[in-house]
């Protein structure tokens, strides 16, 4: 079976925290236990400052195996307010990454 992957277009992530809480709710994780963790990066670039929010799938992320087996989307993917997370096979998301501004891929 081809590998499963999570594609995030970091350019559009606003740090709204929906994915993190969606994951905690889905998995019954407590506060500060994250399947996906979004960190703020304020970077000094040549042409000035910029803000990036970078979501990171931790070891507590199981790619929502049960939901997916049930035909659903991972909870973070469904609820992401910026619609910047895509789930699929590695091949699918590699293709999709071509349309992203700042793609990042997690593979399992």
């Amino acid at each position: 079976m081809s590998k499963r992957a999570m594609l995030i277009d970091v350019y559009y992530c606003t740090g709204c925290h929906s994915c993190e809480v969606a994951c905690q709710q889905e998995n019954g994780y407590e506060a500060k236990q994250f399947g996906i963790l979004v960190t703020e990066h304020i970077l000094n670039k040549k042409n000035g400052l910029t803000i990036d929010y970078v979501p990171y799938m931790t070891d507590l992320c199981n790619f929502c195996a049960a939901r997916v087996a049930d035909g659903g989307k991972p909870s973070c993917v469904k609820h992401c307010q910026a619609r910047c997370i895509t789930y699929g096979t590695l091949e699918e998301v590699m293709e999709e990454a071509k349309n992203c501004k700042k793609p990042m891929i997690f593979v399992k």
Binding site: Y11, Y12, T14, G15, C16, H17, S18, E20, V21, A22, Q24, Q25, E26, E30, A31, K32, I42, L49, T50, I51, Y53, S75, K78, H79, C80, Q81, A82, R83, C84
Partner: protein, 776 residues
């Protein structure tokens, strides 16, 4: 409704504390054995199309929080002592009825004030209760100048005769796929964050900006803070807080003098262009640069970009309400979208009416009259507090003006105020500027009721009776104040909590049976949504509904002013006295107010009070929204408090270095009015001449009884902000973005509010003593 194993899955609308809703989301509730176990977005709902905010996703932690109020409480100690006895609903409502009847008999119904916090279905149920009781004094209690949305609404009504919103095809079930929709080429995002302002004003939710960006919309950001949006925009302007009116007039100066406006639209559909042209001559870019700190080249460039992009829209936020001349600011914004031909066109700023024109929570005078009739409203206006002094308060939307309410509580003139009934209003920690003054005024009243979902500093400090309210999952209600029209149905019960519509209905029957011709709420809701042709139960089955395109409240189709869909007389044009967009407002003129846009300096500023600026060299901005906590809510909910768990003030690294302050240290913020403690966060995103401190903070994990009231006075940034500085119109002007301040370290012996609390274990449970009524 469906089942999955033994889990029932229901679709419903969301509109309540809990999420904090001002939008029109639809959600799926997952219920097992009568208990809510999960909340998900509803992919078949057009508002968020399955996405959801973190607050709704955390609803199970909110709804089943161990410290939720679950039974009515009666105060058994002195006010503020924090001693409560649980009583039955029957007893609680009897108490409320008895005490409020007593006030009505002795002083008249206007001696009771009915205050809500932020909107949701608080507004509809509270004005209903106030009017049934006979009091005209329905208000947004504590917020000076009702400076949240009402000033913007008033400005839009004065110029365009309607509410105007940036278009994201939100009125079409097809959304972006609607063939009539055009993606805006450019959107100005003015004084509005992305992360914190999700769905804050009913007709738009912030992440639609991203939907549009992905479809090609370019962004211009106007914000003193380097927001996420600023970093994703073509051009970012960073004005001095409180000078938005001048900036808008500067844009108009360029657009008009360079002939970049839509001549045909101006000629055909605008009133008072020549007067406006004359007025804007007072605002050449050079002068606007001086006022706003925005370089004149940028003013010219952005004005040209906006005027040349077709279509282009403007998204605008609450800070525009905070200048005492917020109406003047809004007049200028309305002029911008009108003269550039961006009004009532696809991808521009569109006229926003609730689907089918139904209303339950009035957003304009039209809607108040629609609900209660002209004669009744006229009668109410005679005694409504503030209507005698402030022309817009008199003529728009029927609020009592909160500043005047406080003055009247203090003086008893022109008539005494004896009681306060609050629903989801936490003025002590959140809404009220000068909270001490509010506290002193309210604690002297004869009888105070607070209905809320949690025990709050406000309830602790002033309530005699506390009524436990509900989240949307626990109530029947209907959302009409935005899009789409949503039914909200009760699916779970927590403790003995009751929805405020339920409580208001019951109390209204007791106070004035003739004001309640319905047998139950179901019938009331059916009547309210009558124009949709649906009964409440029918709407509930569909969950949501939008009006068809050719309906005055259906937007796609656009250009309704040409088709005679906007005016009650069916003639083409806008719903204003002249039938045109009133660049020169005849309504404002008839109220004795400036008919043209203008800028006014904030009460305190480097310009208006240079002496004070010397001692207090920072501009204090409060009120910025947080992504997971709305106003003063959610401080108890671990999934929401985990991200920003202490009350902070933000300073630029250069400013902090100059002051010798370190990240994470506790400091005093002090202004001419008072001071509060905050934890310092150093971040380059804030303007070096400003300090930013989020509002609404209290610490439920600390002592609830007097004098602490969950530490609210210690950390409340409103200690620095005066009330009563609203301008001549009445609406607008809570100076929450522009007071001057200085920042310095705590002295030895000053305690740190979050020290020794259970906060580090993320245990945000609060304390209030339930005393056995017999013992007490």
């Amino acid at each position: 409704m469906g089942y999955k194993d033994d889990v029932k899955i229901v679709r419903t609308g969301a509109w309540s504390g809990g999420p904090g809703c001002h939008g029109g989301c639809g959600v799926e509730l997952h219920i097992k054995d009568g208990k809510l176990i999960k909340v998900e977005g509803d992919e078949s709902h057009p508002f968020m199309q399955g996405r959801l905010c973190p607050r709704a996703l955390a609803l199970t932690q909110y709804a089943y929080h161990p410290n939720r109020l679950q039974r009515p409480l009666k105060r058994v100690g002195a006010r503020g002592e924090g001693k409560w006895a649980e009583i039955s609903w029957e007893e609680a409502l009897d108490e409320v009825e008895y005490n409020m009847n007593k006030i009505r008999k002795e002083y008249g119904p206007e001696a009771m004030v009915f205050g809500q916090g932020t909107g949701r279905d608080a507004g509809g149920s509270l004005i209903f209760l106030a009017y049934a009781y006979g009091s005209p004094n329905w208000t947004l209690f504590g917020l000076s100048g009702i400076s949240c949305f009402t000033p913007r609404l008033a400005g839009m009504h004065m110029v365009c005769g309607d509410i105007v919103f940036e278009d994201a095809a939100q009125f079409s079930p097809l959304r972006y796929d609607d063939p009539d929709f055009v993606v805006p080429e450019l959107m100005i995002v003015w004084a509005r964050g992305m992360r914190g302002s999700q769905c804050a004003d009913h007709y738009f939710t912030s992440h639609w900006v991203i939907d549009l960006m992905k479809r090609g919309t370019k962004i211009i950001c106007i914000d003193p803070r380097m927001s996420w949006t600023a970093t994703r925009s073509e051009k970012w302007l960073r004005p001095r807080p409180g000078t938005d009116g001048a900036l808008a007039l500067g844009f108009l100066h360029v657009i008009i003098n360079e002939g970049l406006y839509d001549k045909e639209f101006v000629e055909k559909w605008c009133h008072g262009f020549d007067e406006l042209k004359k007025r804007v001559q007072e605002y050449p870019p050079e002068r606007v640069e001086e006022i706003t700190w925005v370089p004149k080249e940028d003013i010219v460039q952005v004005a040209r970009m906006y005027a040349k992009a077709k279509p282009a829209s403007i998204r605008f936020g609450q800070p525009l309400d905070c200048n005492a001349n917020s109406i003047g600011t809004m007049q200028a914004l309305n002029a911008l979208w009108a003269i550039t031909g961006n009004l009532d066109v696809p991808g521009g700023n569109v006229i926003a009416r609730p689907p089918y024109g139904v209303t339950i929570y009035p957003y304009s005078t039209h809607e108040v009259v629609q609900l209660y009739g002209q004669e009744f409203v006229d009668n109410m206006n005679k005694r409504r507090i503030g209507a005698d002094k402030f022309p817009l308060v008199k003529n728009f939307r029927s609020w009592a003006l909160s500043d005047s309410v406080i003055e009247q509580m203090e003086t008893g003139n022109p008539y005494p105020i004896k009681g306060l009934y609050l629903y989801t209003n936490n003025f002590l920690a959140c809404t009220a500027q000068d909270p001490k003054r509010h506290y002193e005024a309210v604690r002297k009243l004869d009888f105070n009721v607070v209905a809320d979902i949690f025990m709050t500093p406000t309830a602790q400090a002033i309530a005699d009776i506390v009524l436990p309210g509900t989240t949307f999952a626990e109530k029947d209600s209907v959302f009409t104040t935005g899009i789409p029209l949503n039914a909200i149905r009760k699916h779970i019960q927590v403790g003995e909590c009751r929805s405020h519509w339920d409580v208001a209905f019951e109390l209204a029957k007791r106070f004035n049976p003739s004001s309640v011709p319905w047998n139950n709420l179901n019938e009331l809701f059916t009547e309210r949504i009558g124009n949709s042709g649906l009964t409440y139960d029918e709407l509930s089955k569909k969950v949501w509904e939008l009006a068809p395109k050719d309906h005055p409240s259906g937007t796609c189709g656009y250009r309704r002013h040409e088709k005679g869909l906007l005016r009650p007389d069916g003639k083409p044009g806008f719903r204003t006295p002249t039938g045109k967009v009133e660049l020169y407002s005849t309504s404002l003129e008839s109220y004795g107010l400036d008919p043209l846009p203008s800028h006014m300096e904030p009460v305190e500023s480097p310009v208006s009070t240079p002496e004070i600026y010397k001692e207090y060299p920072l501009i204090l901005i409060t009120g910025r929204r947080m992504p997971t906590m709305f106003h003063s809510e959610h401080r108890q909910v671990p999934w929401l408090r985990q991200f920003e768990n202490e009350p902070i003030v933000e300073l630029h690294p250069d400013t902090a270095a100059e002051l010798g302050l370190n990240d994470g240290q506790w400091v005093w913020i002090e202004g001419t009015m008072g001071r509060c403690k905050r934890k310092l966060k150093i971040t380059p995103v804030v303007h070096p001449k400003t300090a930013m401190a989020p509002h609404g903070w209290w610490l439920p994990e600390t002592e609830g009884a007097a004098p602490s009231f969950y530490s609210t006075f210690e950390i409340n940034v409103n200690n620095l902000i005066p009330m009563g500085k609203n301008g001549t119109a009445g609406y607008g002007g809570a100076p929450i973005k522009t007071m001057l301040c200085k920042i310095y370290p705590l002295s030895e012996g000053d305690t740190i509010p979050t020290e020794n609390t259970k906060m580090n274990q993320l245990d945000f449970t609060d304390s209030y003593d339930i005393v056995n009524a017999q013992e007490a």
